[in-house]
Symmetry: C2
C-alpha cells in the first residue's frame, strides 16, 4: 500500500478577506503507514461548510484555528482501506474530520474528533445524505429549531439563507411545527424553489432593492422566531421586527466570516441588535452541533422519519474533484450554491 | 377638597437626544373629583428609572409612548387621600404608575397598570424601599439573575452599572450564588463603594483609559455571566470575553436610550455582538419586570430575607421636590447617582 499518493490542501497563510488560492497549497504526498489504533480512510465525500472560513482565521470556534502548514479541516465520509482499530474494518464507511485530503488517518487520539462507522443507511438514501439531512447539517437544523427557536402553531418564523443546506431543512421543520415560515434567499430562482419545492409560505429575495418592505409585508404580525444563518443587515432588519418573547436561533453569520481576520474591534459600537432584543424581551442563543453528540440519534430518527413521510425535501450540490474545494467554498460565500455543498473526492 | 392643586410634568414634545427642560412643562392644575372605583392619591416618592427616556420616545417598550400633552409616566408610592374603591381606604399606602405629579387618580381601568396597597413593611425598612430593593428595582435584579444569568459557584459574573439601583443588587445576588462578581462603574469612588460596601470581588472604572485591559485582567478565566445594564462599547467588550455557554441577562442599555428618537437604522451593520454570541454559543435574553407580576411575592420574600440576613446592602439617592425630576433624570444618565434614584414629592 506504500505507493498510495495523498493529495491534500495545506494552509499556507491565513486569508485576509476572502479565502483565495494563495492561502492554500494543493500538494501530493506519500500516505503514511498506519500504526496501532489507526485506520486508513479513502475520502469519498467532503462537506464544505461556512465554518471552514472561521477555522482558517485566528478565531477559536469549537476547535482551534487550523495551524499554518496543516491539512485544511473538514468533515467527510470515506471508506476504510486498512484498519488496525477494533471498531472498524476494511470496507466500512466512516464519517469524521477527514480534512481536505484524499486519504485520512482515522486516529481518535490524534484527531480533533472521533471517526464513527456510518450505520446502514435509512430508506435507500444516497451516501451523501450522511453529510446532509442525516448528518451535521440536518442535526444543526433540528437542534436549532427544537431547542431554541421552538416555533408554535400559527407563529411567524423567518429563515435566512433559506435555500442553503441548514436553512432549507430548518424551515421545513418549522412548517412541521405549524409555523408560517418566511424564507430569505439571494435570487428569484432560489425563492421560487424555496416556496414551490420546499413548501415555505413565502420567500424574500434580499438582492431586491425593496427587500425590507417585502419582508415587512410578508410578516404583518411581526416575527416570533428567527433561524439566523446570515447576520449583517439582514439579521438587523429581522431583529427589528421581533415580537415580545421572540426566539432567535443563532446558527451562522455567513455574511461576516470573511471579516474574521483578527479579534473583533470592540470599540466600534452598533446598538441595533441589542436594542431590538431589549425592546422585544427576546432570547437569542447560538449553538453548535458538535457540542451535542448525545442528541444525534434522536435528531437522525426525527429527520429520517420526515424524509420517509415525504415532509422533508433536501438539495445537494456535488462538485467533482478535491482540487476544486477552495473555489467551491467561494461559491458558497457568493450564494451560488443551492442546498448542501459536497466535494466528490473518490468514487 | 376641590381647592387642591396638582403640579405635574406634561410632555410637550419628544426629546431629540437628551431630555431637556423644553421637552416637559411643569404645570399647576386643579385636582379633578374622583368618581366610583377611583381613589385620590398624594404622591410621596417617585421612582426615576432609565426607562423613562424610552417612554418619551416613539418606541413601544412594555407600554405605548407617553402621548404629547400627557403627564409623564413614572412609578411611585403615595397615600390615599380619598377613596371610592373597595380595595383601598383613606390613609392607605399604595404603589403604581402615579406619574410625575403631586396627585394621582388611582383608576385601574383608566390607568396603564394597577395600583396596589403596599403590605406592611418588612423589618422596619423605610417606605422608599418599596420602590428599591423590595420593588420593581430589586425584583428586576432577582428575575435577571435567577431566570437568565443563573451564576454557578466559581463562575465569573460581570455587572455593568454596578453602583446603580439594579446592578448593585444583581451583583450581591450573584455573590450569594457563589459567583466571583466583577463590577463596572463610572468613577473610582463608585468602584470603591462597590467593592468595600457591596462586597463585589472587584470593580473596573470604565472612564479609565485602560478599562479594557483592566477588565481582561479581572476576568482571567473569561466571563460566564453578564448582567447587562449599559450596552454600547462596554457590552461589546464584555461579550467578546464570553465563555462557551455563557448567559447574558439583558436588563438595560442606558448608554443608548438618548438615541431612541426614531426607528433603529437597520442599515448600519456592526457584527461584534452577534459574532461574540456565536463563537461562545452564548444565550442573551432580555426581560422586563412588568411582564412577571406572578413572581413578585417570591422575589420580595427572597430579597427581604437577604436584607434580614445582612447580605444585601442597598443605596438610594433621594432628591427633594417634584420640580427637580427632569434634572435628576439627567443626572442618572450622567452617571452622577449612586443606587436607587427617588424624588421625594411630599412628606
Amino acid at each position: 500500500m506504500s505507493q498510495l499518493v495523498n493529495h491534500c490542501h495545506r494552509l499556507r497563510q491565513r486569508p485576509v478577506g476572502r479565502l483565495t488560492d494563495d492561502d492554500l497549497e494543493f500538494v501530493a504526498e506519500p500516505v503514511p503507514k498506519i500504526t496501532h489504533n489507526q485506520a486508513l480512510i479513502q475520502t469519498l465525500f467532503l462537506s464544505l461548510d461556512p465554518a471552514a472560513r472561521i477555522w482558517v482565521s485566528d478565531v477559536h470556534y469549537s476547535l482551534p484555528p487550523v495551524k499554518i502548514g496543516n491539512v485544511m479541516r473538514g468533515i467527510g465520509i470515506g471508506r476504510v482501506i486498512e484498519s488496525r482499530r477494533n471498531d472498524m474494518k476494511a470496507g466500512d464507511l466512516v464519517s469524521g474530520l477527514t480534512g481536505w485530503q484524499r486519504y485520512a488517518i482515522a486516529d481518535d487520539e490524534a484527531n480533533e474528533g472521533p471517526f464513527t462507522v456510518v450505520p446502514p443507511l435509512h430508506r435507500d438514501l444516497p451516501l451523501s445524505a450522511v453529510l446532509g439531512p442525516l448528518g451535521h447539517t440536518g442535526i444543526t437544523a433540528y437542534l436549532g429549531v427544537h431547542d431554541i427557536a421552538r416555533p408554535q402553531r400559527g407563529e411567524t418564523m423567518v429563515v435566512s439563507a433559506a435555500a442553503g443546506a441548514v436553512g432549507s431543512i430548518a424551515g421545513q421543520i418549522g412548517k412541521a411545527h405549524g409555523a408560517r415560515v418566511v424564507g430569505i434567499a439571494g435570487s428569484p430562482d432560489k425563492c421560487r424553489h424555496v416556496v414551490e419545492t420546499l413548501g415555505f409560505d413565502s420567500c424574500i429575495n434580499h438582492r431586491d432593492q425593496a427587500w425590507r418592505q417585502q419582508l415587512d409585508q410578508a410578516t404583518p404580525d411581526g416575527i416570533d422566531v428567527d433561524f439566523e444563518n446570515v447576520g449583517g443587515p439582514i439579521m438587523n432588519h429581522v431583529l427589528s421586527r421581533l415580537n415580545i418573547g421572540a426566539r432567535v436561533a443563532l446558527c451562522g453569520l455567513i455574511s461576516e466570516y470573511n471579516t474574521y481576520d483578527a479579534r473583533p474591534d470592540t470599540r466600534r459600537c452598533q446598538p441595533n441588535i441589542a436594542r431590538s432584543l431589549m425592546v422585544s424581551r427576546a432570547l437569542i442563543q447560538s449553538f453548535l452541533v458538535l457540542d451535542h453528540p448525545d442528541r444525534f440519534d434522536e435528531a437522525i430518527e426525527y429527520l429520517s422519519q420526515m424524509i420517509g413521510d415525504g415532509k422533508l425535501t433536501y438539495d445537494e450540490t456535488i462538485i467533482e474533484g478535491l482540487e476544486n474545494a477552495p473555489c467551491a467554498l467561494q461559491q458558497l460565500f457568493d450564494g451560488a450554491i443551492r442546498g448542501k455543498l459536497l466535494i466528490k473526492v473518490s468514487e
